[in-house]
């Protein structure tokens, strides 16, 4: 069966085909398509398995570890910053091992395109002492996923598949194999010295881990290097950089100038074998070009101090190694005559909340009440774009809005004016992910924070995945809905209001009450502003839709208050006529912008 699969979809096919029957994770670009694909495969091919989202990456990692302890082939999927969240179990599972096999799929985002950092997860594989495989194409992502489970099972060690945006989000025609329902049986064999190891036994486990890594280092295929072309300058490479270099050599006829030595497993590396392979090529000059941090280069440099790469200054130490960038590096190294053709950049278009997004109305209401006087701590998700409405001052990592809000409030209460208002905004899924513990702290330690939960009932930013509040999962299986309001009440919050985020006057009213409440009582207030995501099919279908919405040209003064303060991308300022018009291609006729016009020039027809 030939399919046009993205790297992420290919990983799901590879894992399930190899026998992985437990896949969990948390959505995050560019990793989010692996689990939905596995769920689709399960439904389509009638495969028995547990494939679904977890509340966060740490929880997912632990769930998958237990499944692997039970001798079920398992995988856990996340983006690179998700691995930071899962670091604790990640380090520990490396020690205790993974009897049924555990594939750790991590998608890095060099650039970064949609992340806070461009960290290289291979370093964390190195740090935890687990093998890491680097596919260079979707086709390899498929094949390497199968190999990863094989390696993981045989050595009872977690194995990382390190993808990057350009592999995860590339597509290729791939011939996938048979997907059969396997007979698997859980078999957890009690071994407290391993699975409940005290520090004394941890030392023994560490020694075992070191021995596993030494054996894997010598393993055929995994430790082998592929060689391409016959040139005099040798480039040691891996992952997506290999695919780019291959295309550069072919397109520029550099077959007799460059030689590529491709590494598939960048940790552990058999450095003796690598040095021998390099020496055998007779190349006088060796470059290392790898996407991310100098993982291979740092290891190789211990044996060959003259290799050139990031550490020698040849390769830049930040940013994505695009095919253009690699071309520039080769030109700088004097091995490619690249004519500089002046790269044209796309016009910068500020990302913006979707037309009709309830978050925009909520931010508008927040800004109407607190203007520039509040400190606005926000979080990771679509609502980061509240930046455009001037209602976001900080964005850090998952859940940090509430803990940042707590920190700001405490220092201002103690050392500053006691009437400083702090407004934290967080999405529903992010609240479940890691906002809850921070709210426990805020309630317990009397923070007078105003927390606004922007509830669109989905993980919108990454492609509308389900949240713990959903009643069904993606493939229609029944789940128990966790109601946010009941969590808030259970945590002891004394002020809670729930409002449709399309009710701007109502939200303004609630926010004013919340302000009075926190200043009088010095305890947190929570507001849930709820409106389904209009980017989801269901949300858009059920959304209020006026017959028409238009600008009364006589009333529009061209003041741009709507464009600047409401900031809907469907409101466009016509520079020639000095009036606003509505972009019919993107407007969903929700009418939310009407309130933003001081001259009543935005009109709706029922």
């Amino acid at each position: 069966m030939k399919l046009f699969l993205s790297g992420n979809e290919a990983i799901a096919f590879g894992l399930v085909e190899a026998g992985v029957r437990f896949i969990v994770g948390y959505p995050g670009t560019p990793s989010s398509e692996v689990i939905p694909t596995a769920m689709d495969i399960k439904k389509r091919f009638g495969i028995k398995g547990y494939f679904d989202w977890s509340v966060n990456e740490k929880v997912a990692f632990e769930e998958a570890t237990a499944a692997s302890y039970s001798h079920i082939g398992s995988a856990v999927v996340m983006k690179q910053v998700g691995l930071n969240v899962a670091m604790d179990p990640f380090m520990n599972t490396a020690m205790t091992g993974a009897p049924g096999g555990l594939v750790v799929v991590v998608a890095d985002d060099p650039g970064p395109h949609s992340s806070q950092t461009e960290q290289d997860s291979r370093f964390l594989a190195f740090f935890a002492k687990i093998p890491v495989l680097e596919p260079s194409t979707p086709q390899e992502a498929y094949g390497f996923s199968k190999k990863a489970l094989f390696l993981s099972r045989n050595f009872e060690i977690p194995v990382m598949i390190r993808s990057v945006t350009r592999v995860s989000h590339s597509r290729e025609d791939i011939e996938v194999g048979r997907l059969d329902d396997l007979q698997v049986k859980p078999n957890f064999i009690r071994d407290v010295d391993r699975f409940a190891a005290t520090p004394h036994f941890r030392l023994i486990l560490h020694k075992e881990l070191n021995e596993k890594i030494e054996s894997i280092k010598k393993l055929k295929w995994f430790s082998d290097f592929e060689e391409y072309f016959e040139g005099g300058v040798l480039i040691v490479t891996s992952g997506v950089s290999f695919a780019y270099l291959y295309d550069i050599v072919k397109d520029n006829n550099l077959e007799d100038k460059l030689k590529l030595l491709r590494i598939s497993m960048s940790y552990p590396l058999d450095l003796e074998k690598l040095k021998k392979a390099i020496d055998k090529t007779g190349s006088k000059r060796v470059l290392v070009i790898e996407e991310g941090y100098p993982v291979i280069e740092m290891q190789l440099k211990t044996k060959m101090p003259t290799v050139e790469g990031r550490l020698s200054g040849l390769v830049p130490n930040e940013g994505e190694l695009t095919i253009d960038k690699i071309g520039e590096i080769l030109a700088k190294a004097g091995v490619l005559n690249q004519k500089s053709h002046g790269f044209v950049l796309p016009p910068f278009k500020r990302p913006s909340l979707c037309p009709g997004c309830g978050h925009r109305s909520a931010f508008y209401a927040i800004k109407q009440v607190f203007k520039n006087k509040a400190i606005y701590a926000s979080d990771i998700g679509c609502y980061t774009l509240g930046l455009n409405l001037g209602a976001v001052d900080t964005v850090h990592c998952m859940g940090a809005s509430i803990s940042f809000g707590f920190g700001f409030d405490k220092v201002y209460s103690l050392f500053g004016k006691n009437d400083q208002v702090v407004v934290a905004t967080i999405g529903d899924s992010t609240f479940f992910h890691s906002g809850m513990p921070a709210l426990v702290d805020a309630v317990h330690n009397n923070s007078k924070l105003i927390l606004v939960i922007l509830d669109n009932s989905t993980v919108a930013m990454t492609g509308n995945q389900t949240t713990p509040a959903d009643k069904y999962n993606q493939i229609g299986e029944k789940t128990k809905s966790i109601e946010i309001e009941r969590v808030i009440e259970a945590l002891g919050v004394e002020f809670l209001k729930i409002r449709d985020a399309y009710d701007i006057d109502g939200m303004i009213n609630d926010l004013k009450h919340a302000k009075d409440f926190v200043l009088d009582n010095k305890v947190p207030a929570v507001l849930i502003f709820r409106h389904p995501c209009v980017y989801s099919g269901e949300g858009l279908e059920n959304n209020i839709r006026f017959k028409n919405i238009y600008i009364n040209k006589d009333l529009c003064t061209g003041c741009r208050v709507c464009v600047n303060q409401f900031e809907c991308p469907s409101l466009i300022f016509d520079e020639d006529r000095k009036k606003v018009f509505i972009d019919v291609a993107t407007c969903i006729k929700c009418g939310q912008c009407v309130k933003s016009c001081p001259f009543d020039a935005i009109k709706v027809e029922q």
């Binding site: 030939k2 046009f4 670009t29 560019p30 395109h113 949609s114 260079s136 194409t137 945006t165 350009r166 989000h169 590339s170 597509r171 290729e172 025609d173 997506v240 695919a243 780019y244 291959y246 295309d247 072919k250 397109d251 695009t322 095919i323 253009d324 053709h341 790269f343 044209v344 950049l345 796309p346 016009p347 278009k349 500020r350 990302p351 913006s352 909340l353 979707c354 679509c382 774009l385 930013m461 492609g463 980017y535 991308p569 019919v584 291609a585 993107t586």
Partner: protein, 153 residues
Amino acid sequence: MKLIILGVGGMGALSLSKIVAQMSMNRNISVRSSEIHGMAKKGGLVEVQMKIGEGKSGVVLQKTADFTLVLDEAYLDYGKAFLREDVFGFIVLKNKDKEWIVKDLGDIRFANALILGRFVKQQNLFTNDDAIEVLKNFKFFKKNRIAFERGLV
């Protein structure tokens, strides 16, 4: 063949690339693509680069593409930068096309069938039937067909 598709979130640039890929696979021609999304959904650029019958990566460099399909006029200059100097494969969805689609077909996402029509008309690798073969499996085949045929005019 090297192909670039540019659009903004929700315009169907990704669907368009998948249609072209399915047309390739139906004809047993290798196909690769590379795409950037993420913030793209928020009104930003959706860029799909495709190689049909060539290459290891799906990446297409500027000044090397045979065709550029632009679904948003904001990206005219950027789209042109991808074209080889000796080709004329520049296909643009104009504002008046958008208005026609929204008015007559009711959803801007039919734009990709119109653009597909213009693309198929200009090149020799795929036939009209190759495109119809893929489009006919779509839920709104009738409207897609209307848009596609308008592209052939």
